[in-house]
């Protein structure tokens, strides 16, 4: 047992640090991840440098412009990049999910056209899976694609689409045959987000920010050459995309035990005597937060060890988001209440992060798989428990019951 990189990993890490130091500013803690303020031009310039330096597509095959390294190197770069301002945000979905899907499931022509331009930041991607009636149940997508000669005509609506407003291309899951059972009638396409039939409307989040969008499709014409995988194989392709999401899962982005410990040194405690940090009830909770944060951090080390030995990220990495998102909500809530009457005041400066994060923490528990879905994944894929009996099995999609 030791915590050191192998010599090869250490060399890579120091190269990564040198690159990042030269090209990025240190990060400000507590800002909503992917939240406003990222200047697209700077992000694109950074991505170009990253690609030139060989830090884009670290795990991708060399023949597709990647570096062909094992997954551990992507994790190492992510650890180091995470210490800086998040300029890589606009490319996470494309490079983490959409383009890897095209590499493994797309045609040669598609790889030729899209991979390089994504790697060097020229083109941005979004993922068009979720719909108003297909959230956790993504395969319930209703957006229709109807064959018209050599093309397809798409009508429908997607939602929760991160970065749709800045995207050039989208990976689009649509229903091509409602006569078939739910999972069998889906097909995946690449859609040009600048097409006139594509309308992007920002969603105003409860936190005040707008990272997500609704995307409307009105008679959008897509060439059959833009289909990824076979007709009716959309679900299979979607699973590849979702599997790639696991490596992209980040750390704990908000204020954590160390920040609330510092706050508690400065605030008076509920007994009116001494600092909050001396309050026994607070101290017990602080210990719990520490144990949870360490459990996540050390669990990542265990995952890294497995990856270092050639393993692939499995469903067990779902744990991280469950514990981090819940701890964040708990800590931000405690920090606000600890300020007593004053807790409701939106503050500038370091203490303001608790209030800000309190408002975006609920989103973290939902995005990328809600707590409940992640627990189902753990129960079914890790523990081997049986699936729920399905009401949608072997029933034509058009005949499935729908609610609101």
């Amino acid at each position: 047992m030791d915590f050191n990189d192998t010599p090869e990993e250490a060399k890579f890490r120091s190269e990564a640090r040198a690159f990042l130091d030269a090209n990025l500013k240190p990060k400000l803690r507590g800002r909503e991840p992917g939240g406003g303020g990222d200047e697209l031009a700077r992000s694109k310039a950074y991505q170009k440098k990253k690609a030139d330096a060989g830090f884009s597509g670290i795990t991708w095959p060399k023949e597709h412009g990647g570096r062909g390294l094992p997954a551990i190197f992507q994790v190492i770069f992510g650890q180091e990049e995470g210490k800086y301002e998040p300029l890589g945000g606009p490319f996470i979905i494309g490079l983490g999910m959409c383009v890897p899907t095209i590499i493994s499931m797309g045609t040669d022509a598609q790889r030729e056209r899209f991979v390089a331009k994504a790697l060097n930041g020229e083109e941005i991607w979004c993922q068009l899976f979720s719909e108003p009636s297909a959230g956790s149940d993504v395969a319930a997508a209703r957006t229709r694609a109807v064959k018209d000669g050599e093309d397809w005509i798409v009508n429908g609506q997607k939602v929760w689409t991160s970065g749709a407003h800045i995207s050039d291309w989208g990976l689009l899951l649509v229903r091509t045959d409602p006569e078939l059972p739910k999972h069998k009638g889906l097909t995946m396409f690449i859609v040009n987000m600048k097409d006139p039939g594509v309308e992007v409307r920002p969603i105003h989040q409860m936190s005040g920010g707008s990272n997500f969008n609704e995307v409307y499709f009105t008679d959008v014409r897509i060439a059959d050459a833009m289909r990824v995988g076979g007709v009716g194989e959309g679900w299979k392709v979607a699973l590849v995309t979702l599997m790639n999401e696991r490596l992209a899962v980040g750390g704990s982005p908000g204020p954590d035990y160390a920040e609330i410990l510092e706050l508690a040194r400065r605030l008076s405690g509920p007994s009116g005597q001494g600092a909050l940090l001396q309050d026994p009830a607070f101290r017990q909770k602080l210990a719990d937060w520490y144990v949870s944060a360490e459990g996540y951090k050390l669990g990542r080390f265990r995952t890294m060890t497995a990856l270092s030995k050639g393993g692939v990220p499995g469903p067990e990495s779902s744990i991280g988001k469950i514990i981090n998102a819940n701890r964040l909500q708990d800590i931000t809530n405690a920090a606000i209440e600890a300020q007593d009457h004053y807790g409701i005041v939106a503050q500038d400066g370091p203490d303001g992060v608790f209030g800000d994060a309190y408002l975006w923490a609920p989103g973290l528990r939902i995005a990328g798989g809600s707590d409940e879905i992640l627990k189902n994944i753990i129960a079914e894929r890790v523990l081997g428990l049986p699936q729920d009996p399905r009401a949608d099995k072997d029933v034509a999609f058009k005949d499935l019951p729908t609610g609101r």
Binding site: M1, D2, G295, F301, T305, K375, L385
Partner: protein, 376 residues
Amino acid sequence: MNFDFSDEQKQLKDEARRFLADKASKSALRKILDGQSGLDGKAGASYDKTLWKGVAEMGWLGAAIPEAHGGLGLGRLELCVLAEEIGRSLAAVPFSSTVYFFAEALLLAGSDAQKAAWLPKIAQGDAIGCFAISEGPGAVSASAIRCSYENGALNGVKTPVTDGDVADAAIVLAKEGSGLSLFLAPLEGVARESLKTLEPTRGHAALTFKNTKAERIGEAGRGWELAEAVLDRAATLLAFEQVGGAQACLEMAVDYAKNRYAFSRPIGSFQGIKHKLADMYVNIEVARSNAYYAAWALSTEAPELKLAAAAARVAACEAYHFAAKENVQTHGGIGFTWEVDCHLFYRRAKLLAVQAGAPAVWKEKLVRQLEAKNAA
């Protein structure tokens, strides 16, 4: 990055699991339980003597004892993997008292003569040790210790002492002058009152010292500090027992949930059960990761041990408590019966949660370490 046990250590773990599956069966455990609970009409032994002999023959008692003192001279990491398997099997043997507390105290602070006198006997399985600091209900604190040492002899009462009913010697925290010191006391002739506890598969006693001959371990006046250091080591090793026990609960509950049908479907297909079992899994993984870190700190004698041991203990107590109670719950009515093993884990989980100090005490220790580390 290599945050995992080595292949050799994993092999040792597999070997331990096979050995315990055979020699530490639940039916053997139940003989101790029934005897101690008075169910067979006569008081039985408080530990499984055949198993204890087998454990000694496997060399486990001396796994971390240097070869010079008759041990195998392996490391603490090896002890950790053994602890996990012992925890999983619920083995009814005085392993933790003897190895994690008594032997660790000697290794930490014993003189050469003390080590030479006791460690070979422990490694051979010829001596059982215990650790006596509690004197009654409430958090153990330096200022509340009444037991005292004067002119080479101990006086006072320690209760409850895990395995105190069968131990040959105890490590005792007592007053010496104005401070506290740690002592080694052979228990021959010491009055022992066996205690009825919530966990009859481990023996407990109240020990009454009356002019009991004892010798100091370590420096005079450093008793509290040394006891805390022993507890850090024991907490780390116990965390592995707890993770092993919690994992066994999870496996038991998963197996039941897959095979028990209600409303014409396995109960494991209901999200009420699924999410409960997923929570168990998450808690156990958090505990396991924290335990690994403490194991690393213990094995390298890193200064991080104090904080790491506290985190490991807090996480392990929580994971085992949750897994043990929700395992009963998953089983429903049958889980509430004497015949089904759920209560064996439920009982052991509680013993391990208080044996080295309760979680609340460790949370306080943890925060003190954090304060020192993040001193403004």
